[in-house]
């Protein structure tokens, strides 16, 4: 399941809903991304996340489908927020549930790595010197690229 929303989410509730009623699940791995209060040597008070409605959902669905295709998952979840967020706020949550832990761990990392380079979101950080658009990191590209050699967990 994927969700793109302005409002916050409850991590415990989301993990509970993901596994509820499926006793084949032996493990769930999740990752939550938060707003940092600094960028380099700058203080960051808040950030605004812009996105491309329609394409965002489409890309997230494709990323989730690819994870489902590569690993034997019982359930998966991607939630991404947009709008104005303050330091400490949740930005994103991905989760993968499977019979065994290896697939859950790997799929969870894959979901984040691919989302970071494919989902059309843009962060604008506010600091005492004004607001500026965050530049993409070359490292994110490298992290996503390593999954291009298909690799199956079990």
């Amino acid at each position: 399941m994927i969700r793109v929303q302005e409002q916050d989410f409850d991590i415990g509730l989301e993990v509970g809903k993901l596994t509820d009623g499926n006793t084949r699940i032996g493990g769930v791995c999740f990752f939550v991304g938060l707003v940092r209060d600094f960028a380099g040597d700058q203080d960051v008070s808040n950030l605004t996340l812009e996105h491309y409605p329609g394409m965002t959902e489409k890309q997230l669905q494709d990323v989730e489908a690819e994870a489902q295709d590569r690993w034997p998952l019982e359930a998966s979840l991607i939630i991404h927020r947009f709008g104005k967020l303050a330091a400490g706020d949740n930005i994103v949550m991905v989760a993968a549930a499977s019979e065994h832990r290896a697939a859950a761990f790997e799929a969870c990392q894959f979901l984040m790595d691919w989302l970071k380079t494919k989902a059309p979101f843009w962060k604008k950080e506010s600091s005492p010197d004004g607001a500026q658009w965050v530049a993409a990191k070359a490292d994110d590209e490298a992290q996503a690229e390593r999954w291009n050699t298909p690799k199956k967990g079990s």
Binding site: Y52, M55, V92, A119, F121
Partner: protein, 83 residues
Amino acid sequence: MKILYFAWLKEKTGLSSEDCPLPDGVTDVAGLIDWLIQRGAGFDDAFKDQNLVRVAVNQEHVGVDCPLSDGDEVAFFPPVTGG
């Protein structure tokens, strides 16, 4: 066709979206960028460093060699920074 601009491309062009017919002689994204640049300073500035511009056609990531037709939705934006 529909053209969308996001993040600093929206700020520099002063537009979030526009509807316009596929310009005469334009067959691909690279041609559309050349056409847009001629429209004025904001567009020239937005597309000045094309290494920083990414493109989607009909909501899929594409390269500038992607062919275009009149009903397409084309979006220009910086490299994505979600997550």
